[in-house]
Amino acid sequence: MKRLVATFAVTAASLLAQWGGELRFCLRSDPKTFNPLLVDDEASETVRYLTGGVLIRVNRLTQKLEPELATSWKISRQGRAIAFQLRRGLSFSDGTPFTAEDVAYTMHALMDPALHSPTGDSFRSAPGDVETTVQAPDRITIVFPAPVAGLDRLFDQVAILSSRSPKKEAATLGPFVVTHYTPGTDLVLERNPRYWKTDAGGRRLPYLDRIHLDIQQNREIELLRFTRGEVHLINTIDAELFSRLVKQDPAMAQDAGPSLESEMMWFNQNPSAPLPDYEKAWFRSQNFRRALSSAINRADICRIVYYGHAQPAAGPISPANRFWFNAALKPHAFDPKDALARLQRDGFRFENGALRDRDGHLVEFSLITNSGNQAREHMAAMIQQDLAAIGIKLNIVTLDFRSLIERITQTFRYEACLLGFTNYDLDPSSQMNVWLSSAENHQWYPNQKIPATPWEAEIDRLMHAQAAAVDTTKRKSDFDKVQEIVSDQAPFLYLVTKDSLSAVSPKLRNVQPAMIRPETYWNAEYLALAPAQLARSAR
């Protein structure tokens, strides 16, 4: 049904669309790189998305894979190999023809271990080189050293480079090309005259002549410029600014429902952390973690901090991720009585409004979070109030992001941390470096030599099993179990899943906000401006 609606929308859009004009919106920082293989920041990702051509694209609305530069593909050898049939007669923006040699060149460059590309690392499930076999100018097979889970989906992030163009990465296959960049000020992307896609009427896309990206760090100013009509969209907007916009002009405020971003807190369970032993014992206790989870009122956080544009989170996968979300899981219910009962099972005593452990230590610890994130600071204050109700004294410490990262990844000088993680991909294999006990991003106790607990050993086993399986039903079943263990053991206390919020001018046509990045301009080639706006652009 979704696909039908999307197809209808695209067809209708093409019939109603106006040609030309300049779309304006803001980037929050300068792009760190124009090399699509090295992208690791949001601004560079935007440029890659708008300029790069990929073999396969994840439709942001349906979450299904769609052919782009490849017309078809087939995965074989238990997920180690993928064969592509490519479109014929396409060329890069500079006129260089597109062939299978370009795909081979891109994959070898991407998988160079010295490059340390986040996109490349997603494909690297074992050491070894990637092999490419070009059977014909339009056929290629790529073989990886070990099976790669969700292999085809990963190609959504791989912008194909030209192996022959003297312009290197400036030669692109996407709808736009970078034509002008003033560092710190703006970036202009012009229509790629050789873009291969056409609309239902046979006209060559994109509809827009250019996209003007202003570099604007201040979100208040971005909103002000949006309301003044100086920019046409805000791709992601904070809940507070969004609620302000709703009051001003509800038609421009778009809530696409739950996003892939969630907020959570965790306790430092690292045995080498410079913390008193009794605190480490609290944090290692499942009862303690579950009790605190039950003491936090998630619904209030959604209502007050996110103005209703969030929902209580049950686990690592958001409901926005339709296939991998475990619908059987429910968020831990707010129940301070149950919280106290669980704590009593571990010998904690609630006396005179304060909680003490079995040795009489007052339960007091600090929660670190990054400064400057107002929603997170408000959330920490609400958690502080909730925990005070069961006698726990929580001290909030806000740190700048670098200091916080140093504490959670190197010095381990913290007790609990409140942070959010962004899922870059729908497939759970992209979270291997979070769930494996040996991983760097296994935040509550990273880099374990052997799993510290039986449940972590079980998560390791299940994550390896799902990554090795080809059958998606088996993978789903394994990852559902991982989600259940995480919910039961609560190493991360998942708090809220934020909604995907954006602001879109009514002058902009064909926008279909989605919950996956890039939320509003994922169909950039179909975006068009209203006629009045076109006249202004022309002037």
Partner: protein, 288 residues
Amino acid sequence: MWIRRIFRHLAAFVITILIAGLLGATLVRFGPGFESDEQELDPRLNAHSVQALRQSHAAEQHLPAFYIHYLGHMIQGDLGVSRSLERPVTELLSERAPVTLRLMLYGIASGWLLGLALAVPAVLVRAPAYDLASTALSGVFLCVPTAVVALALFFANGPVRFAIGLLIFPKVFRYARNVLADAYTQPHVLAARARGLSPASIFFRQVSLWAAPQLLTLAGVSIGIAFGAAIPIEVLCDFPGIGQLAWTAALARDLPVLVSLTILVAVFTQIANAASDLAVSVCTRERA
């Protein structure tokens, strides 16, 4: 004698700059978060890439070696590569310096014009109502942070580039008014008035000349004030200048950028102070 004096000043100049750079580098290097990178939290990166990321700035870990290496390259015009923006620091500075200089220029010029425009009538007219109104006006702007003034101007669609002027004018006004008022009480000014010289002649030939050294000293200081104010204005109002670069670099613990900026500010301040001292000595000699 002159050569030795110039040499002594130059040596003090160089030593001050070297010490400023070293202090800046030490603060950044030993500040919290220097050895971490936001990318480390990217779950797509494997352990090798995270290690490589940590090793990529190994050259900056050993401070004396880094600083000597930095100075060696600085002499050749190479200020290194920004850790966060991954571009040569010289490029970043040359792109952004005009924005900050323009902002400072507008700010200093407007601040001085407004300050003097209010101070001179206050001394010449000596009307209590005017004095009260101008003092209250300058008091208001003295209390409000420049960043707030800048944001207010921005949201009102006003000229943000004059925000620094609104920070500088109260200081100029109060100082200039006091200095000029003091000048009018000097014996030679009283004598000139007794001799029946015109008010304009007294103001330009006696009062201004007497007040010039003090005002020139304030002019030197106002350059430093303007640069300090440019940082929050550029950050809040998204002006791509040196101030915004400094803020971004501080958040990213970008050692090459921060050391270069520290040295640049030290050079700038030294030159401004030297120019101010020179002007003061010329004026004093003239006055004598």
